[in-house]
């Protein structure tokens, strides 16, 4: 392996350990699995460094390897049920949370942004994300949280861009529904407000 590639890998890949761990943790929902996935991704990347084109996007390349490792090793062992049906998603509008807070939490929350979203805890947000079915969660983690482009997410998941868009759309709507439920359970909206 030539020294240029080794040096580029050391300089560009190692600083990404933290963020790759964060992505792996949100995908796998398990700290030990996340640690294993990141180590596996780095080992695979290092071994196949001759396939990396110097000067291209190493971050996107590493995410692709990480996601691939997750799909091939972890996901297959941990099949999970769909937590929210597609029917439920189809009935939801684009601004589920905003609309519900505006119409049903008005007395409590004249400004839904300040009074409800800010009062939800980090744990509420993480639980909402962790509760997403895997295919939606992975797309949301890669695009919304980690900042990959549509094309990079599509390459990582080995699906067309249209599928990425569709998974993001459904995932975000399900997240909004979940946040509404957390707000209601935490008493941030009137107890009589109907469930999501």
């Amino acid at each position: 392996m030539d020294q240029v590639r080794r040096r580029e890998f050391q300089e560009k890949a190692l600083p990404l350990v933290d963020e790759l761990f964060g992505a792996a943790l949100r995908m796998s929902r398990n700290p030990q699995a996340a640690e294993d996935l990141v180590a596996e991704a780095f080992a695979k990347a290092w071994k196949s460094l001759d396939q990396f084109q110097p000067g291209t996007n190493m971050r996107a390349w590493l995410y692709r390897i990480l996601t691939n490792a997750y799909i091939n090793t972890y996901r297959k062992k941990h099949r999970e049920p769909e937590k929210v049906s597609v029917d439920a998603y189809e009935k939801m509008d684009d601004f589920h949370l905003f609309n519900r807070l505006s119409s049903e939490a008005g007395g409590v929350a004249p400004d839904p942004v300040q009074t409800v979203v800010d009062r939800l805890t980090d744990e509420d947000f993480r639980k909402a994300l962790d509760g997403l079915a895997e295919e939606y969660r992975t797309a949301v983690v890669l695009y919304d949280l980690q900042g990959l482009s549509y094309q990079e997410v599509a390459d990582s998941l080995e699906v067309p861009i249209g599928t990425v868009r569709s998974r993001l759309s459904r995932g975000r709507k399900i997240l909004q529904k979940s946040l509404w439920r957390h707000a209601r359970d935490a008493g941030l909206v009137p107890a009589g407000a109907p469930g999501a």
């Binding site: 933290d18 761990f21 780095f42 949370l97 947000f125 949280l145 759309s169 909004q176």
Partner: protein, 75 residues
């Protein structure tokens, strides 16, 4: 341009995958559907909270980088 308004807002918030011209079109499309600034701000806050929560709940073990460096040395 698709009709996923929430998706359009997220593209706008992320400033990715959009050229300046496309961004103008997105804003026009959102305005056409009555998506005013407060709605966009709301989604911005929600997205920001998700990112903050993920970041705070996902601290990388301090020794992972050392472990990886050792692993690469062994390969």
């Amino acid at each position: 341009m698709d009709d996923d308004l929430l998706g359009l807002i997220y593209e706008l918030l992320n400033h990715r995958d959009l050229s300046v011209e496309q961004e103008k079109l997105v804003v026009e499309e959102l305005e056409l559907h009555g998506c005013c600034a407060d709605r966009i701000d709301f989604e911005r806050r929600v997205l920001s909270r998700f990112r903050e929560a993920a970041l705070r709940g996902g601290e990388c073990p301090k020794n992972l980088r050392t472990k990886i460096q050792a692993l690469l040395g062994d390969i």
